[in-house]
């Protein structure tokens, strides 16, 4: 009984982890290659969720929703890159933080104007609702299993692309030496736009996967964004491997903390003290984890560079 609960919570942690990974992968590539801090990555997540939901409801087709959601976020990402962010690559982090902070305000308000401030609900497609008995006495949501599968699939694909293809070679080279990539005669602008658009599409994918289980509303990207930053910093900036490890660690720690911290505390301190300390500590846990990791390894678990 208790073991089953732990397995279930581990699945929940993994599911949160892959979700964070989808966001973190794009963000860490953009960090690593263009040296750009993009706070507006959360807005792309929101855009993905809105577009997918919107098209799902207007066309009535889940597949079309997914298609338009992904494609739309890709386009929005490329537009944002070309219009606003391209000029920021050579600027310092401060400029990037502020400009992308401005983009967050813009996107939140734009979405509010287009779709209103009401949260939008999209239901699970029929073929994905329901539960699977993965262990005796453990029914797990099919949709969440699908999220885990999609996340792991994307992680595998990314790993393959980065380690086995010419594009991946350029990406790795770009992360360590920009001038060299330019010297190879590669159109660096195009590469950047491509990488950014790709990262945006991944954020959009996370958003559209989240849409049927979370509330689709303005500002939905910020909370996950801050968690994703924690992931990237723990994993090491610029490292896909780090992003994956960081995402799974953060997903697990957060979920396990919420589930088991209070009961565990209650065995050590008084239950009423655990009542008030438990939830507070659980919400601070990932930040504590990040502080500890940085105190020991300032460049993150898989980071190569200090800056």
């Amino acid at each position: 009984m208790n073991a089953i609960l732990i397995v279930e919570q581990a699945l929940n942690g993994l599911q949160l982890g892959v979700m964070l990974f989808l966001m973190a992968a794009g963000l860490t590539l953009v960090f690593g290659i263009m040296n750009l801090v993009n706070l507006a990555h959360g807005s792309l997540y929101m855009v993905g969720a809105y577009l997918a939901t919107h098209f799902m409801q207007t066309t009535g087709s889940y597949a079309l929703g997914v298609l338009f959601g992904l494609g739309g976020t890709l386009v929005v990402g490329i537009l944002v890159e070309v219009i606003a962010l391209r000029t920021l690559y050579e600027r310092d982090h401060l400029d990037q933080v502020l400009a992308t902070f401005g983009l967050i305000l813009f996107f939140n308000e734009l979405v509010a104007i287009l779709w209103g401030r009401n949260a939008i609900y999209s239901s699970l497609p029929q073929f994905l609702s329901g539960h699977v008995e993965i262990l005796p006495n453990l029914n797990y949501s099919l949709y969440r299993l699908v999220i885990i599968a999609v996340g792991l699939l994307v992680a595998g694909l990314l790993w393959y692309v980065v380690t086995h293809t010419r594009l991946g070679m350029l990406i790795r080279a770009g992360a360590s030496n920009r001038t060299m990539v330019a010297a190879l005669g590669v159109n660096i602008r195009l590469l950047y736009t491509l990488v950014f658009g790709f990262g945006a599409a991944l954020a959009g994918l996370a958003g559209l996967l989240a849409a049927p289980i979370f509330a689709v509303q303005t500002g939905m990207g910020e909370l996950i964004l801050i968690q994703v930053f924690v992931v990237i910093v723990i994993g090491g900036i610029g490292s896909i491997r780090g992003a994956f490890a960081g995402a799974v660690i953060v997903g697990m720690v957060d979920t396990m903390g919420r589930a088991f911290l209070k009961p565990t505390l209650a065995t050590v301190i008084s239950p009423s003290a655990a009542d008030s300390a438990g939830p507070a500590l659980a919400s601070m846990l990932i930040y504590l984890l990040m502080a500890v990791v940085l105190a020991i390894r300032p460049q993150g678990l898989f980071g190569s560079r200090g800056g």
Partner: protein
């Protein structure tokens, strides 16, 4: 100093001053503060709509005086709310301040207004301090004290003989107040009590814990977007049919269109519902649907009542806005047609009123549920903090 920069500063300053309207105290000015931007803005929109509807119903003359309502956006932040209140008081020199959704904003705004000897009509938040130690003769509310609604739910669930109830709320002051209120009247066993992080997007971990405890019923407080997320995920986890959910401030006319059938069968307690049968309410709900094309939530109903309460006060003093004592005395009688039906004021200026049990049932279609009153849980219910209020009349 170079001209360009001087112009920038002077311009900003001048524009800032210029936005102050000319002084003319012939008419009634009401400052209405609510949340108009950000995710909470949807609630503020309903409140603003209801104020406008009330003005329409009064031919834009509250208490017979030409009326100007100035709307202020508190951005759901206490310090901004206080700043807006200061602006209302000092710049617009309003006669009444009304509105306020959030308890923390209310606690910042109400003392500011009342200490400036201006009348304040709260139309939603009811923090216990204002009902108790901080009660003030200049402050009235057309809503409730925060604890009362969960008290009604606790009473109802006790009466139903429910046991092993699992409680969930976000980990902040109102969340704790709500569960405290619930436990004050609920006599059965509590199977577990869980506080989640404010605005947390995923409740899967907590839902798994809850399933493992296998309680007989669940009682939650998840206002706004949190409620939509929680109930959706609860339903997706397949628990909707197994463990019934009771809630306060979680399912309303704002979240119903988003929740759709995930809300069906849900129980809430409340002072008001669109289907309350009285002429004032019918006029309000019909008018609202006609003008804005949707059902109003309780936030709107309370705000509509707020304007009507002011109307009754100004009429009682025949438009003499300097007669604050007279207006306070008039409001204490609650002498107007409230959309919730007749109610009275307790000595702390909080309503003594009925609380009903509501259930989300299928409306025009299954995907458009509406709230329907099932029974009266409390008749003429008083809040639990009034004994701390020293005010006498």
């Amino acid at each position: 100093m170079r001209a360009t920069t001087r112009v920038v500063l002077a311009g900003l300053l001048a524009a800032s001053f210029a936005s102050a309207p000319a002084m003319a105290q012939q008419k009634l000015k009401i400052g209405f503060i609510t949340t108009l931007s950000g995710p909470g803005g949807i609630i503020g929109e309903h409140m603003k709509n209801s104020v406008e509807l009330a003005l329409d119903h009064l031919d834009r003359k509250v208490g017979g005086l030409a009326t100007e309502v100035i709307y202020g956006d508190d951005q759901q932040k206490a310090d901004v709310g206080k700043q807006v209140a200061d602006e209302m008081l000092k710049k617009h020199q309003v006669n009444f301040v009304s509105g306020i959704i959030w308890s923390h904003v209310m606690l910042a705004v109400a003392p500011t207004v009342t200490s400036a000897s201006t009348l304040m009509i709260g139309t939603n938040a009811g923090p216990h301090q204002l009902a108790g130690e901080l009660c003030n003769e200049n402050f009235f509310t057309t809503s409730w004290q925060n604890d009362q609604t969960p008290e009604a739910m606790g009473k109802y669930m006790s009466d139903e003989g429910l046991n092993d109830v699992y409680l969930m709320a976000p980990n902040y002051a109102a969340g704790k107040d709500m569960l405290t209120g619930f436990k004050r009247t609920f006599k059965g066993r509590i199977a577990g009590e869980v506080y989640t992080t404010v605005n947390q997007p995923d409740y899967q971990a907590e839902i798994a814990q809850l399933r493992a405890k296998n309680p007989k019923a669940l009682m939650v407080f998840y206002p706004g977007g949190m409620g939509i997320q929680f109930l959706k995920q609860y339903s997706q986890a397949g628990l909707r049919g197994q463990i019934p959910v009771y809630s306060v401030f979680t399912v309303d006319e704002i979240s119903l269109p988003a929740l759709q059938h995930a809300a069906l069968g849900q129980f809430e307690t409340r002072i008001w519902s669109p289907d309350l049968k009285n002429p004032a309410n019918q006029k309000y709900v019909d008018g609202y649907q006609k003008k804005f094309g949707k059902l109003p939530p309780f936030y709107g109903a309370q705000s509509y009542d707020g304007i009507m309460l002011i109307d009754s006060a100004v009429r009682a003093v025949k438009g003499n806005l300097a007669d604050k004592k007279g207006m306070i005395a008039a409001m204490r009688k609650a002498n107007f047609h409230s959309v919730r039906g007749k109610y009275t004021y307790n000595h702390n200026h909080f309503p003594v009123q009925n609380f009903y049990l509501l259930k989300a049932v299928a409306g025009a279609s299954v995907s458009q549920p509406v709230m329907e009153i099932q029974k009266t849980v409390f008749a003429n219910h008083k809040d639990s903090y009034s004994q701390d209020c020293k005010m006498k009349w």
